[in-house]
């Protein structure tokens, strides 16, 4: 790992945390709890495509832990962590197959982030009926994931430019 990569990793991590903060400032319609833009995923997706999945995983992990402790508190940390890990696993898998574009990978990430959160929520309240929210969260995952994918695709060339 050279110093340039270290600097880039630090920069991307800081950006990811900042995205988490910006996201909190944007009010979202409360039709269904839990709908989020997933802005931080822009950074994770860009990192995956520029520095590789391994680096992206650690940036995602550091972001979730720091954002959780800074803004959300410990309970919120658990939800974010479940969503982030599941979403990352699916994105890395699809990235490796190479059958999907950056937009498709991002959509999958958005969808599975919501699925992970709802699984933890169902475990916490011990009520499987949480699945009632699933359709809304799936659709919102597709929409936000698509937008995040488009943003990532437009940003990526600038990150890769030497």
């Amino acid at each position: 790992m050279n110093s340039k990569k270290i600097a880039l990793c630090g920069l991307l991590t800081a950006l990811a945390i900042l995205m988490g903060y910006v996201e909190m400032l944007i009010p979202m319609p409360l039709i269904v709890p839990g709908i989020k833009l997933g802005l931080a995923n822009v950074i994770v997706v860009i990192t995956m495509y520029s520095l590789g999945p391994k680096t992206a995983f650690f940036i995602s992990l550091v972001r979730v832990v720091l954002c959780g402790l800074l803004f959300a508190g410990f309970a919120g940390l658990l939800y974010s962590l479940a969503g982030a890990v599941l979403s990352f696993a699916v994105m890395a898998l699809l990235y490796k197959t190479g059958k999907m574009s950056i937009t498709g990978v991002s959509v999958a990430g958005g969808v599975f982030h919501n699925v992970g959160q709802i699984i933890v929520a169902a475990l916490v309240v011990e009520n499987i009926k949480m699945a009632y929210y699933l359709p809304f969260l799936l659709v919102s995952g597709v929409v936000t994931g698509f937008l995040i994918g488009v943003v990532s695709r437009l940003c990526l060339p600038y990150v890769n430019r030497k």
């Binding site: 498709g104 011990e126 699933l134």
Partner: protein, 120 residues
């Protein structure tokens, strides 16, 4: 955008639609609101009568109200207040969840509408 992208998006939307109709297709107006805290039944309120119940949990309180056949959470001392902003519910299977308090209000069919309140 590759072809697989569209297949993925379509698949997710179809699954979402299927779950939606599975839940909502047969949803009729429910008979009662079951309030559970941490997985255990706290109270059961019939939707036919207006009522207001203060649900005390270890983490804090929620005030559940029944009005005109709808159940809603009007007040809570939790941090995010998502349950307060949730729309009112009346159909079978619909629910309001307060994650910080582990409290769930769920509408069920209500085979026993004669019972006024079961506190357990």
């Amino acid at each position: 955008m590759k072809r697989m992208d569209w297949i993925l998006i379509l698949a997710v939307l179809v699954i979402a639609g299927a779950i939606y109709f599975f839940y909502m297709g047969g949803a009729k107006a429910g008979g009662e609101a079951v309030i559970t805290v941490d997985g255990e039944v706290y109270a059961t309120l019939p939707l036919s009568e207006d009522a207001s119940l203060r649900v005390e949990t270890e983490e804090g309180y929620n005030i559940v109200e029944i009005r005109d056949g709808y159940a809603m959470v009007t007040e809570a001392d939790c941090r995010d207040g998502i349950c307060e902003n949730h729309r009112k519910i009346s159909k079978n299977g619909e629910n309001i969840v307060c994650l910080p308090h582990k409290m769930v209000v769920e509408i069920t069919g209500g085979e026993n509408p004669a019972a006024d309140m079961v506190v357990g």
